[in-house]
Amino acid sequence: MDMPNNEVRNLRFDEYHSGEHLRNATKQAIERKYQDFLIVDVDAHHYESEHHREVFQYIESPVIKRMALESFNRGGRSSFLGGEVGYQDIGGRVTRHWLRKHEKTPATPHKDITTTLRWMDAMGVDYTCLFPTPMLFLGTHPQPEIESALAQAYNRWLCDRILAHEDRIISMLYLPFNDPEAAYKTVKEFGGKKGVVGFMVTAPRYKPVHDNAYMKTYRLLEEMNLPLSFHAAYTWGDQALKMTNRFIGVHALGFMWFNMIHMTNWVINGLPERFPKLKVMWIESGLTWAYSLMQRLDHSYLMRTSDCPSLKRKPSEYMREMYFSSQPMEVPDDPSILEATFKMINAETQLVWSSDYPHWDFDLPGVIYDLPFLSEKSKHNILGGNAARLFNLPLKPVKKIPNVD
């Protein structure tokens, strides 16, 4: 009988540490030698609603600011920003969603800097493009001026409190897309700020991307060489999605649905021809939607060129020049299916890895690194090189992977 000094521990559900939660991910990072090359996460999140008291101080309109602060003081009984029906934590099964309130952080830097760096290092990430969480649903708010006010306040808060103080955290800032003039002013105001590497449109909304009102914003982004991204999400308020009765349904479809519509409008209205140097990225829809939509649009285009006279090439050829974030990456049992998808979207240069951490369906770098059909060079491109070129980031790894036994 052997009685070695094996550590036996009890589980505790009254403490939490972002790095310790990802202890097994850190082991993977060490085993796979992530320290030796750059990893950029183009889509991760924090919970800006935990700092609404700070964020709301940045609201310019005194009337809206008062509404926001009063709403905050009344807590759950108020719905100033609305909300989205859902249960992302799978009824409490994804424990970090409810354990994270126990995480202890020092007084400085800002809590979101500390916790973000903890999970980045644990996972082996050098740079992270940070996005909000509840604001992903703000595009369906019935009052465009509320969306604009909060977008401006959040963007100012993020620049002041987070991006200005931490080089490894970057962001594509929220565009208040329901007010085209406000969207344009947002790019003007924040385009040159430290850590701002582009702008992001939350996909669930009902404004078509080809509306003439947006053209000056696209032109400005193109002139500033800043990418425009569309971050997927769902809304159970959508007429068609209302027919789904479980979160798995509204999530699986919703996260593709809105991006499929925006992509379709983007391409068939010839926006890639009007803005040939504008870099466009599609975030958090996985990859199968693009594989499918390329074939659907090409098939119809050949018979209906009169519907899209601006196009000089097949729709898929324009789509193949855009960028796609990887998460949530579908992993079919047969890897040749995924390999075909990678080929279809020209993954070697256009696919950019993302974690979506800390959300329920996050991916680790291993989803790319462990693929049997990729070369080392391709893995490095997808995990960091492509994003570094897109965001003009240094190629030298700066992560600090913690020691684990």
Binding site: P4, N6, E7, N10, N24, F362, L364
Partner: protein
Amino acid sequence: MAEIFVARADDMADGDRRIVRTNKGEIGVFRHKGAFHAYANRCVHSGGPACEGVLIPKVIELIAEDKTYQGQTFSEDEMHFVCPWHGYEYNIETGVFAGDSKLKLKKYQIVERSGDVYIVA
């Protein structure tokens, strides 16, 4: 293979668990309905700490004889433990993954002797 001490049996009530760090990796030991079960603490999905999540019974759907849906409830027979990273659920008595019965966690033998609980790893 070695026997590794986990706990005094009396110190683990039903529903308790221990995580044991060994040179084979971490192993989760559960006590459920009086019996002990031990599995590798590494999820078949992306390597998460599968044994460190919540315990929750399998969800079952109530379908009447006329095939109409009558709601959902928790199973009284099948307990799951859930990987806290993404929600992969495992049968606590078999270690079989609820989403695909071809997948299961590595199971370790339990030895009870003189009121002590050991795993063989």
